[in-house]
């Protein structure tokens, strides 16, 4: 009988201990996890701004050569792109040069060159005659492709032929920034 009572007491203690474990385990802090996705969108930048849209040589004598701002640049093009692709800045004349007698004039009398640039790309620093076909004046470097602003500075020159007809000459210059080679 005593042994039976001891067994019964042991059983009760065991049940109580188990109940305590279960109770304790049931009162531990609950924990849940949830994934959160953060999306950051960097806007594409591909822009160009020209600071001076009038290239004025003034008046000259036939046979004269006029270089605008011999020791500096005349105007600059601000280019910015962050696409990570190589881009080019091209320059051309639009249509024909209108001379005083209405006859087309060879665009080669006007020339351009890149004076300097703030980018890490490749500028064309030789005097280059204008043409109706766009010619590459600047090719972007690594930093230029990564969103850093690049200033490309131009100079211009007029080589008037000795038999230039008197009057006014006018032509429109087209600057194109493109990542299309």
């Amino acid at each position: 009988m005593k042994a039976y009572m001891n067994m019964k007491r042991s059983a009760v203690v065991a049940i109580m201990a188990l109940s305590a474990v279960i109770f304790v385990s049931g009162s531990t802090a609950e924990q849940a996890t949830q994934d959160m996705y953060a999306t950051v969108t960097i806007n594409k930048v591909f822009s160009m701004v020209l600071d001076n849209a009038l290239i004025d040589f003034g008046y000259a004598q036939p046979g004269d050569t006029i270089e605008l701002k011999t020791s500096s640049y005349y105007n600059e093009v601000k280019c910015q792109a962050n696409k990570g692709t190589t881009w080019h800045l091209k320059i051309a004349v639009m249509g024909t040069i209108t001379g005083p007698d209405g006859n087309p004039v060879a665009p080669e009398i006007f020339k351009w060159q890149v004076f300097d640039s703030t980018g890490d790309g490749d500028p064309v620093k030789d005097w280059t005659p204008f043409s109706a076909t766009p010619k590459v004046a600047y090719t972007s470097g690594q930093s230029d492709m990564a969103g850093r602003e690049a200033l490309v500075r131009f100079k211009y020159k007029l080589d008037l032929p000795k038999d230039a007809t008197g009057g006014n000459y006018r032509v429109r210059v087209l600057y194109t920034m493109t990542d299309n080679p």
Binding site: A53, F57, G63, K83, W87, K162, G166, R172, M177, D179
Partner: protein
């Protein structure tokens, strides 16, 4: 491949709708991905202007003094009164020289006229006895005979006493820079009626003009 288990008609419709939504979303996603890789081009324009000064000038040609002897003064100091035709000093028949060269330069692109008139301060001198010879001018820029027109055929003609067109510019004369069109004159005098030992003055005016 997407398989649907056969279910109710409504389930089929819903499944098809879902498939359409998924396809549309995929298309939009692909478009957005591709759009960012399109080539970009931006442009700007500027106006480039220049003015060329007008040139319209006349001057005496003095670059070849051995061939064109005189400019502002043509001397006749040894005329033989027995002759009817006297050249200026240093001249003779067919010597290949000229007395005066008139160089006309222009870039106006317009027709111009070379006009001449003569006057004298010696009232008893008959200007009809003062002769001039003008050959076809020479376009020095093209290094060729000028393409204009002489009003009179080249011959010994009496000098005009009123402003008279002797030469009308041709197409290439309208812009003849840099070297211009050269008109060379020779002169001769018939001394009939002139008094020996007396000085006679004759003034010749050369005019280049676009006015006809």
């Amino acid at each position: 491949m997407i398989f649907f288990t056969k279910g109710s008609n409504r389930d089929d419709i819903m499944a098809k709708k879902n498939m359409l939504h998924i396809a549309a979303a995929a298309l939009i996603f692909c478009f957005l991905c591709t759009a960012s890789s399109f080539a970009d081009t931006v442009t700007a324009t500027a106006d480039m202007v220049a003015g060329v000064t007008n040139v319209f000038s006349i001057e005496f040609y003095t670059s070849e003094p051995a061939k064109v002897l005189y400019s502002t003064s043509v001397p006749f100091t040894s005329m033989d009164p027995t002759k009817t035709f006297c050249y200026a000093d240093g001249r003779s028949d067919s010597d290949g020289k000229s007395d005066v060269g008139i160089l006309c330069r222009t870039n106006l692109g317009q027709v111009w006229y070379l006009k001449v008139n003569a006057s004298t301060s010696s009232p008893d001198f008959n200007l009809a006895n003062f002769k001039y010879y003008l050959g076809q001018p020479w376009n020095r820029t093209r290094n060729a005979t000028a393409d204009g027109t002489l009003s009179q055929a080249s011959a010994w003609n009496s000098i005009p006493t009123s402003l008279t067109t002797l030469y009308t510019a041709g197409q290439f004369d309208k812009n003849n820079l840099a070297y211009g069109t050269l008109a060379t004159f020779s002169f001769a005098i018939n001394p009939a009626g002139m008094t020996a030992g007396r000085t006679y003055n004759i003034t010749i005016t050369y005019t280049m003009t676009t006015a006809q």
